[in-house]
Amino acid sequence: MTPTSRRTGLAPATALLQGTVAAAVFGVFTACLALRVFDVPVAAQGILVAAVALFAAVWFCPVVARSAGMQITTMTAWSVLVPLVVGILTAAFSGFPVSRFAAPGTAAVLMIGAASMIITLADRRGWQDTRTRLLLLLAVSATSCLWLGPAAELAAAEPWIATLIVNLNPVSFLATAADYDYLLATWFYQRTAFGSLRYEFWPPAIFVISCLAIMLFSVIYLTVSNRRDVGRTAPDGWRKNT
């Protein structure tokens, strides 16, 4: 099996365009629906839209069969494009204040950047179903404050446990960027014990550094492995493709 077999055969620009359209349609529809159905506080609306953009970006993330440089450029553009398009279009259709999207949207850019790089890197390694696994991981961690509430309550004597659970949640990064404690919002407060427990949000710098570290590692890995591949005699014309 050649490395190109799991990748889109499209040029990066085309793959980027197609993916962005798909992510935008899915993201904007989902965000508008959520804003309409749920009574989301104004400060939380930007966080909700950013979270939807994150999931849409991971779900529709394209992987291009080109050089490391092209992959990195495409993923960087992808990370910025999807939240931007989803944020602006959702604001246009739903009327939510787009200014509320700036901080969580920026956080989403970083998270999408890290996730996209992981997907690209996994593809280079030949790992299967990375996107699905990543989505599953995101879904499980994003909802952890709901299903781990009783456990956190039992372990309330050790506040670091609740703090750890809260901060291993991608929604927390989006929320801290917006200075908003979503666990005290009515919906969460009524459904999980976290709002009544002691926890602390980690400084956003920790999340920023984590995302940047993942991206940096991925860039280095892609660059190095690309050089190694070029140096080898690749079968099935792989050298030509890269």
Partner: protein
């Protein structure tokens, strides 16, 4: 009615000024024991104070502990040393540009409110500007027309944790307590708007226009929601609701006040937080003591006709629950931080201070 209002206002003023006096409202032997319990609690707090003067690295807990010292029968003030001045320094170091006082961006109402109450207790005019800015911050949190809330909205007049999170009665009462303690303008519309929100958290359909409202006179956490059983009233919130009504200018002849007091009479107990079991137990003791002090009756005659001296009952209960190291905590439920000894000890000492005060 006007006289009653003035008397209520006077008792509120006396309470928030925090003068400790001897009185005959408690058995002398029990009073002495309660005083010793306060001393032990304060010793615990002094032993667990951080280098920077804070407790639990929290502005809120620090402000409550500071208040516990200042309002105690020992009458501590800034001249007593670093254990009083350093926590004040910690609080002042966390004053923000928007007037709030908080070490974190969340829970700014709670932290600011208890900080203002503690700073007011020092009676030091040096903090006047900080207090004035804090008052503006708290009143600015109230949900009203500029925030897109019309008077018919269930959240109108409410104050939450800060930001635009939903309001609740607990945050509301703490904000009102701070505004009262810092002598906020009595003609400020914040009080009337607050009354609107507070009334909508009461299970009293005579004055509550919300469909869910029952008729027992007690209070829930926020309009249409209680973290306990259904929409049942419970002790902590009923005391917070009654205290809020009194702070906002309602007097004993007000039907809402009467209904809330009747709920307390019907559900009088210190064995648990009535309606919530052991959850929020020490929060209940704290707010119950302050509420009863402001209400101004030493005896509560329950609906079975039995008279209870709440000061003595509360003192006995808190003495029985004190740990050997002088602290208090809730071993049955850690919710609402009741596993945090610094916080619960501060709450308990403040409750005992209120019980010991005439």
């Amino acid at each position: 009615m006007k006289l009653a209002k003035h008397l209520t206002a006077l008792s509120v003023a006396l309470f928030v000024c925090g003068s400790a006096q001897a009185a005959d409202t408690m058995d002398p032997e029990l009073r002495e024991k309660a005083g010793r319990a306060v001393d032990a609690g304060l010793r615990y707090l002094r032993a667990h104070q951080s280098e920077d003067g804070s407790w639990s690295e929290s502005v809120g807990v620090t402000a409550l502990a500071l208040r516990a010292f200042i309002e105690s029968h020992r009458g501590y003030n800034e001249s007593d040393g670093a254990f009083i001045t350093r926590p004040i320094g910690f609080i002042m170091a966390n004053v923000r540009e928007d007037g709030s006082i908080s070490e974190i961006a969340q829970k700014k109402n709670y932290n600011t409110a208890v900080s203002l109450t503690a700073l007011a207790a020092t009676k030091n005019p040096d903090y006047a500007t900080t207090i004035a800015n804090g008052q503006k911050f708290l009143t600015g949190l109230q949900l009203d027309e500029p925030d897109g809330y019309e008077p018919d909205h269930k959240y109108y007049g409410g104050i939450g944790y800060g930001g635009d999170e939903r309001p609740d009665l607990s945050n509301q009462y703490m904000a009102l307590e701070a505004l009262k303690a810092t002598a906020a303008d009595e003609d400020d519309p914040v009080w009337d708007k607050a009354l609107t929100f507070v009334s909508r958290a009461q299970n009293y359909s005579e004055t509550n226009d919300q469909e869910w409202a029952g008729n027992d006179g007690g209070f829930v956490y926020m309009p249409g929601y209680s973290p306990h059983e259904g929409l049942e009233s419970y002790g902590g919130m009923t005391s917070a609701g009654l205290l809020s009504l009194l702070f906002a200018g309602a007097d004993k002849s007000d039907p809402r006040v009467k209904a809330a007091y009747d709920w307390i009479r019907a559900n009088y107990t210190l064995e648990e937080n009535p309606g919530a079991g052991k959850q929020g137990l020490f929060y209940y003791y704290n707010v119950f003591a302050k509420c009863m002090y402001v209400y101004g009756e030493t005896e509560i005659v329950d609906t079975n006709g039995v008279a209870h001296n709440w000061r003595e009952d509360l003192a006995r209960k808190l003495i029985s629950l004190q740990q050997k190291d002088g602290s208090w905590y809730n071993p049955d439920s850690p919710r609402w931080w009741e596993g945090n000894k610094d916080l619960v000890t501060a709450w308990s000492v403040i409750a005992l201070n209120a019980a010991l005060r005439d």
